[in-house]
């Protein structure tokens, strides 16, 4: 433990942080929080010192925007956007600004905790790191002895930059059962687009003249730079067509909003393809030279007329024709934006395939304003050798879906199979900052899955629901207190970023690498050897072929090798598909018994008195992790259930009343918001509320939890959870 503490001084020298003095008006409120904590004996009071600006990276969501932390007297006073950070166009959103309340949060996990009461009762005692880590290692080793190493699963979040070490420990420990976020996120997107283009490209939002979005709510589900580029630099010529059952803030910014019937986006896309093919509006030369299967597409889409699609989508046939023609006219500077979100329905991969094919036939591949393959910044990889264990079986979810990611797994499948001990039991769980009780569909089932575990350890910064149900809870240092590895953020213009510690880690919190190293030593010499490095060494190794990266990160907080996109590097060249071309017809899918060209299936008809439950993002919270943040909490103290004005009247429900939302798997109570901003057949609730943990003091007892209502359904191709398949009833509470 002392080893790293001793290194703190040299770490500062190593980073060579640039500093400058800033005038500030008044004593920061963070100082007050610190003094309050100091008076309770939790920490030492802040002392006078110098002021500095520290380049680091935001950790509030997936975008990882460049931040300059203003630190005075050892206290972070303000997080400002890094003006050099081209990916985020030098901005910081509400969450980014609220980041200091992640550090100065009375609800923070401060010490290792060991459960003393029943699971979920919330009774824990403070433990030393040594006792807690010994207990974790003892339990995991015992489970491994009894059930093989596959009997322990490792569930991890993404984007802390230290998740790599967690996954490395999982591999060295010897379990195949690592489960990560993609199947609660965009794995069907990646699958659908990769099956078509060989990679998952990024739409060139800044330069596209015509953009169609299906539920990718970019003005609320912020993605940099897309959310910004969508509004900036359009010069009045760009057209945004937006499809969503809800009138979101993106709808408010769109040239045209279509309140599409949920689950029918593929019908809209296939009808667009129908128009573009039958009216010969596609890029003839490009299709001929760079695609395979177009001839099969012609006959395939005959059935998918705009008139047919009107019946499915509730979008007028004439409107579909108009959009299709405009899209083709604007090509190649037109994109059907595929977004980055959870699956809507269980046919999601095929729906994304249809999107990809539509983009493909108008010839927008790797050209300005079109679909651009991502590039990245090359970093040297850290190699390790995981010990070999003879008796370990295949992943528990092996063979469940057509294209399962070996490292990510499929959460819905894992949940079901662990519960059924099929084909073998999993009795131990290590969790790194993934809040599965809030994010995996069917919370009751996830709870049962956890109940049957012999041991659960969660590493987090706050008492998430998942931590609340754990046996050992370990406090990680927050993103503003850690030195994190360099990370390449791929995109049209890629950047490299890193995190530098702005202050020393508070309380007894520790960076994840330290926790992993300590556990590794307890798993034996062979495992420990793989973790025998410091973060500084790790970073030096990453830049061994290009030291300019580290220099740039120290000087301006970001590294990039170009500021403008480079187009066309793959155009006309062999793509990473089997055929080397854009695969309209996928032989790979045909070989697996899947539809080689997307075939439409209608969503289930909604019976009278029921509504389709929709989920979606807003700009204030990230998933289930930020609702308790004091600054964000006051903007949105609870979630509501959106219900259309006419539907509410029909049910005798009024605005503001408490309602019960009942699904086949759960029942949640929250306040009703009667609004015209949603289709009459659907309801919507924001994510992040209805928590179980009393350790989240701002939001405990407020609102309802969507994961408690959503049924376990998933895409059989990608394994991605399908979040819009659940129908609910709404009654007065």
């Amino acid at each position: 433990m002392s080893r790293l503490i001793d290194k703190k001084l040299s770490r500062r020298r190593f980073l060579g942080l640039s500093t400058c003095t800033l005038a500030t008006a008044v004593v920061g409120s963070q100082v007050k929080v610190l003094r309050a904590l100091a008076s309770s004996g939790d920490i030492t009071a802040p002392v006078a010192g110098d002021e500095k600006n520290i380049f680091t990276t935001c950790g509030m969501c997936v975008n990882k925007c460049g931040v300059i932390a203003r630190v005075k007297n050892g206290v972070i006073e303000k997080l400002d956007p890094n003006p050099n950070f081209i990916k985020s166009r030098a901005m910081l959103c509400a969450r980014g600004n609220a980041g200091i309340k992640v550090v100065y949060d009375p609800d923070r996990l401060k010490y290792p905790l060991i459960r003393t009461g029943a699971r979920g009762e919330g009774k824990f005692r403070r433990a030393s790191w040594t006792e807690a880590l010994d207990l974790v290692a003892k339990n995991l080793n015992e489970i491994a002895d009894k059930h093989t190493r596959a009997g322990v699963m490792f569930a991890s979040t993404e984007g802390t930059y230290q998740d790599h070490f967690f996954n490395q420990l999982a591999e060295c420990f010897g379990t195949p059962n690592t489960v990560r976020h993609p199947t609660l996120c965009l794995s069907s997107n990646i699958q659908g687009f990769s099956a078509t283009f060989g990679t998952n490209p990024t739409p060139d939002v800044l330069n596209a003249d015509y953009i169609i979005m299906s539920g990718a709510n970019r003005s609320e589900a912020l993605i940099t730079p897309d959310s910004i580029d969508l509004l900036k630099g359009d010069g009045g010529r760009r057209k945004l067509i937006y499809l969503d059952p809800r009138f979101t803030k993106t709808a408010a910014k769109a040239d045209k909003w279509f309140p599409i019937k949920p689950g029918t986006d593929m019908a809209f896309i296939l009808a667009m393809i129908h128009v573009i093919v039958t009216e010969e509006l596609y890029d003839h030369d490009y299709v001929k030279e760079q695609t395979v299967g177009f001839d099969k597409l012609i006959s395939h889409i005959q059935q998918y007329t705009p008139e047919w699609a009107e019946g499915e989508t509730d979008i007028h046939a004439d409107a579909i024709r108009r959009v299709a023609r405009e899209f083709a006219m604007a090509a190649p500077k037109s994109v059907y934006y595929h977004g980055r979100r959870s699956s809507f329905m269980s046919n999601d991969t095929q729906m994304r395939r249809a999107m990809a094919i539509l983009n493909g036939i108008v010839g927008n591949w790797d050209t300005k304003g079109g679909m651009i393959p991502n590039s990245g910044i090359k970093l040297a990889k850290h190699d390790y050798i995981a010990p070999w264990y003879d008796d370990v079986p295949d992943r528990i979810d092996a063979g469940s879906v057509s294209f399962l990611s070996e490292k990510d797994g499929s959460w819905p499948v894992v949940q079901e199979r662990v519960l059924a001990a099929n084909p073998y039991p999993i009795k131990g769980m290590m969790v790194y900052k993934q809040n599965i009780l809030a994010s995996v569909p069917d919370r009751a089932k996830t709870l049962k899955m956890m109940e049957q575990m012999d041991f659960i350890c969660t590493i987090d910064i706050a008492m998430s629901d998942t931590a609340w149900y754990s046996d050992v809870v370990l406090p990680e240092a927050t993103y503003l207190e850690r030195l994190d590895p360099i990370e390449s953020l791929g995109g049209i213009v890629p950047v490299a970023v890193m995190r530098q510690p702005c202050i020393e880690a508070m309380f007894e919190s520790k960076p994840n690498l330290w926790i992993m190293q300590e556990l590794a030593t307890r798993f034996g010499e062979e495992v420990a050897e793989q973790f025998n490095f410091t973060m500084e060494e790790y970073i030096q190794h990453q830049v061994k072929d290009n030291p300019a990266i580290l220099a740039a990160l120290q000087e301006k907080g970001v590294y990039f090798d170009r500021t403008e996109p480079v187009y066309g590097t793959t155009r006309g060249k062999k793509l990473k598909t089997v055929s080397g071309k854009i695969e309209i017809f996928s032989q790979r899918y045909a070989d697996k018994g899947l539809d080689p060209i997307p075939v439409y299936t209608s969503p289930e008809t909604i019976p009278a008195g029921k509504f389709r439950l929709l989920v979606g993002r807003h700009a204030i919270f990230t998933h289930g992790t930020t609702a308790n943040n004091a600054y964000l909490h006051e903007i949105m103290p609870e979630n509501t259930l959106w219900l259309n004005t006419k539907s509410a009247a029909g049910q005798g429900l009024t605005n503001g009343m408490l309602v019960k939302v009942k699904s086949p798997v759960g029942e949640e109570t929250l306040r009703l918001e009667v609004t015209d901003k949603i289709r009459p057949d659907s309801v919507y609730m924001a994510h992040g509320f209805g928590v179980l943990s009393k350790g989240l003091s701002n939001i405990y007892g407020k609102g309802g939890c969507d994961a408690a209502l959503i049924e376990t359904r998933y895409c059989p191709i990608s394994g991605n959870a399908a979040l819009h398949e659940t129908l609910v009833e709404v009654v007065p509470a």
Binding site: N97, S219, K232, A619
Partner: protein, 184 residues
């Protein structure tokens, strides 16, 4: 050299109501937590139309730094003053908390800060301007709705925006002469 007259020009068409400005302001200026305490905010104008023909717009707002500030006129202790660069300030220790200014402000841009025991409001982040930086709300905005600058300088971005685009001020009829300009 002509004195400065600071102003903000807003292009609300770009506003996505993400609240970055509000949180940035609260952190920068140590505005106490609480929904009633704010120096700036984003207002969602009433939803236009009915399903499925809808429209919605968002209007960020704050102290308008009026050239004819009613808040200053009503203050019994002259706690509210206008600095030479046009920024309307509250001098904390002079404020007796009578809240006349809060009533007088047509923009509801003031709140009572329990921590400093004085009425508080936007200062265009004076502490940042002094060191050559722009206000926190301007800097942090994802879509760059706000532009800050000196309208007495014809070459400033704000002057040029106003020269090239039609704009309006809020509640013009009240004669407060605001220095926040909303592009039309």
């Amino acid at each position: 050299m002509k004195t400065k007259r600071y102003a903000i020009v807003l292009d609300t068409h770009r506003c996505i109501d993400c609240k970055a400005c509000t949180v940035a302001c609260k952190v920068e200026n140590n505005v106490p937590l609480g929904k009633e305490n704010y120096r700036n905010w984003v207002g969602a104008d009433p939803l236009r139309g009915s399903y499925p023909n809808l429209g919605e717009s968002y209007t960020p707002s704050q102290c308008q730094h009026c050239s004819n500030p009613p808040c200053a006129h009503v203050c019994p202790t002259s706690a509210t003053t206008v600095s030479p660069d046009g920024i309307v300030h509250v001098i904390d220790h002079k404020c007796i908390g009578c809240k006349y200014c809060m009533t007088a402000c047509p923009y509801n841009a003031r709140y009572y800060n329990e921590e400093i025991e004085a009425v508080d409001k936007c200062t265009f982040c004076t502490q940042r301007i002094q060191v050559g930086r722009i206000p926190a709300c301007v800097e942090t905005c994802p879509t760059k709705v706000r532009v800050f600058g000196d309208i007495n300088d014809p070459n400033s971005e704000v002057s040029q925006l106003l020269a090239e685009n039609p704009s309006r001020v809020l509640k013009e009829a009240q004669g407060t002469k605001p220095n926040l300009y909303y592009l039309i």
